[in-house]
């Protein structure tokens, strides 16, 4: 039982990443319009049918996997880097720098994150880079808060004091004596975070504020499909299930990871 709960989500996520990476190499035609096939239901020739413009849904689904994966990893990468850097420095230096920084985080946390992302990407216009920017603007805060808290407790540890006594410079201490110890919890947070980012990207695309058409995104596919639910439910079902499977897999694996590492389960960080 326990094994399956790890193996199945892992396979789904692996498939997701593989499709995202290999998508451009496959003979896909996500933007190829075949007019007679408009809203054609799934069949043996075309497994997931065609959309409202006569484009193959399966091909678009795979390109959508690429979009979500790309955005997910970039946003987590940028947020993790910026958040860790700012959080560590703030925690290390303390004093006024820290005070201002904590206030800044309070302000960012006073918004519903997705709202700020909606406003930003609305103003910036559609496009993958803009989505990454908007979501990173929201995403760094969680990592910064965690990195700061960890640094605060780490900076009084004996090995850090010893490094200071030996005359090591601040960059060296942070790089070799603090960072390696705070990365583990940050990576757990990052794993969980991917699910949130994937949903957020799809939300933005659903609202028409995400990727630029005709680039496929699961969110925009769902939006396009909602108008045809009675005649072509496959247009909404396919991208929705794909999204659900990826997010569910990340959440299940995240749970298992948390159980195993026995991080105190709080239930409020996903």
């Amino acid at each position: 039982m326990f094994r399956y709960q790890i193996i199945i989500p892992s396979i789904i996520l692996l498939l997701w990443v593989l499709l995202a990476l290999l998508g451009p190499l496959l003979p896909l035609q996500p933007d190829f319009i075949i007019l007679p096939n408009i809203l054609h239901p799934p069949s043996f020739e075309e497994w997931l049918g065609y959309d409202d413009l006569g484009r193959p849904v399966l091909d678009r689904l795979i390109m959508g996997a690429r979009t979500s994966c790309l955005v997910g990893f970039w946003v987590i990468f940028v947020s993790l880097t910026v958040g860790t850097l700012l959080g560590t420095l703030s925690g290390w230096f303390g004093g006024y720098i820290d005070l201002i920084f904590v206030r800044l985080m309070d302000i960012f946390l006073a918004f519903p994150g997705i709202l700020l992302a909606i406003a930003l990407s609305g103003i910036l216009g559609p496009g993958i880079e803009n989505v990454v920017f908007a979501l990173s603007c929201v995403g760094w805060v969680g990592f910064a808060r965690l990195a700061r808290a960890q640094t605060l407790s780490l900076k009084h540890r004996e090995h850090v004091l010893a490094a200071q006594a030996l005359g090591a410079g601040i960059p060296r201490i942070l790089r070799y004596h603090v960072l390696p110890l705070l990365l583990a919890p940050l990576f757990i947070e990052a794993t969980f975070g991917i699910a949130g980012v994937v949903v957020a990207e799809a939300s933005l695309s659903f609202l028409g504020l995400g990727v630029q058409p005709p680039t496929a995104s699961w969110g925009s596919m769902i939006r396009d499909g909602t108008g045809y639910m009675l005649v072509a439910p496959h247009m909404v079902l396919a991208p929705g299930l794909a999204l659900l499977l990826v997010v569910l897999s990340v959440n299940i694996l995240g749970d298992k990871l948390r159980d195993r590492l026995d991080v105190k389960s709080r239930g409020d960080n996903n």
């Binding site: 206030r103 800044l104 309070d106 302000i107 960012f108 946390l109 006073a110 918004f111 519903p112 994150g113 997705i114 709202l115 700020l116 909606i118 406003a119 930003l120 609305g122 103003i123 910036l124 216009g125 603007c137 699910a195 949903v199 799809a202 939300s203 659903f206 609202l207 028409g208 504020l209 969110g219 769902i222 939006r223 499909g225 909602t226 639910m229 009675l230 439910p233 909404v236 929705g240 999204l243 659900l244 997010v247 569910l248 959440n251 299940i252 749970d255 389960s265 239930g267 409020d268 996903n270």
Partner: protein
């Protein structure tokens, strides 16, 4: 209590001032010219300039910011660039709908989560417990912009029980409230289960049992009351997510609230309205969190004495 209240209000004010400033600068520093966007690519340079002066966009950024803050403190949010209507009136017109949706979503979440989480905790490791946790995992993972259309498909289009969209009467509120509340219900159910499990092993629960109290009285008066603090905390923290989700839910169901206004204004490049909508939602969020903090004192006198 009064000094606690005052310090909370002061820090709330500072955070809100920060929110206003942040939103202001983000919107103004982002590349792209709103005037150009409003008049289109083919606009004449003279027209652009005169509109810019009319909107005060030719002033230095700090002057604009100061003007915005001082106007805001006097209750003047400015006018919509699109409809020329005062923004304050637009918000007053739309806010009740969002409030109604948020409260309904919250109710759905609490009404689902309390029984689900409680019974799961009381019957730990039973079939019921496992299915409640599967529901919770699904609820957290299902995106609301997919759940909404699926509910519409099932209950409106196929069964014809509930209206597809709009805001007319109680029936139209059911699907949006479920769409909005499910994710929160899932998170909350988990929290209720975890906290109750902890509380149920306490000595005072054994005492209550030994006194021969009914199980329902023990759960409701002794266990849930003591478990309420962490549950309320999560509720307060998750309200931001709920309000963010309300934006998307309003779009799915054509619900005429602040979220719909936000998206419409973004599409019309009506930035002052976008800014005002974000401020209003942030204000509600900060207010609720302050209120949650105060609720602690009422729920748990130990918190009150330690302040």
């Amino acid at each position: 209590m009064l000094s606690f209240l005052l310090s909370r209000l002061l820090s709330m004010f500072v955070v809100l001032l920060g929110v206003v400033t942040l939103v202001f600068f983000l919107i103004h520093l982002v590349p792209g010219d709103p005037v150009q966007a409003m008049l289109g690519e083919s606009a004449l340079a003279a027209d652009l300039e005169s509109l810019r002066i009319a909107l005060g966009l030719n002033e230095p950024l700090l002057t604009q910011w100061w003007l915005y803050i001082t106007n805001l403190l006097q209750g003047d949010l400015g006018n919509s660039l699109y409809s020329k209507e005062p923004i304050f009136d637009m918000l007053v017109e739309r806010f009740p709908a969002t409030l109604e949706l948020a409260v309904a979503g919250l109710l759905v979440a609490v009404l689902l989560a309390l029984p689900l989480g409680s019974i799961a905790a009381l019957r730990k490791d039973s079939v019921y417990d496992n299915s409640a946790m599967v529901f919770s995992l699904l609820g957290v993972s299902i995106p609301n912009f997919w759940l909404g259309p699926m509910l519409i498909f099932l209950f409106s289009l196929t069964l014809g029980w509930l209206p597809v969209s709009g805001r007319e009467g109680f029936a139209s509120l059911v699907l949006p409230a479920i769409t909005l509340g499910t994710a929160l219900a899932a998170i909350l159910a988990r929290m209720v289960r975890a906290t109750l499990l902890e509380v149920l092993s306490e000595d005072y629960i054994r005492t209550a049992r030994a006194k021969g109290l009914r199980e329902s009285a023990i759960v409701i008066h002794h266990a849930l009351r003591n478990a309420s603090l962490p549950i309320i905390t999560v509720l307060g923290l998750q309200l931001g997510t709920l309000l963010g989700g309300a934006v998307i839910t309003e779009i799915i169901f054509a619900w005429p609230g602040i979220g719909q206004l936000t998206i419409e204004s973004i599409q019309r490049r009506d930035y002052p309205v976008v800014q005002a909508c974000i401020l209003l939602i942030s204000l509600s969020y900060v207010l609720v969190n302050t209120f949650t903090d105060m609720l602690y004192g009422w729920l748990d006198p130990r918190v009150r004495y330690s302040v």
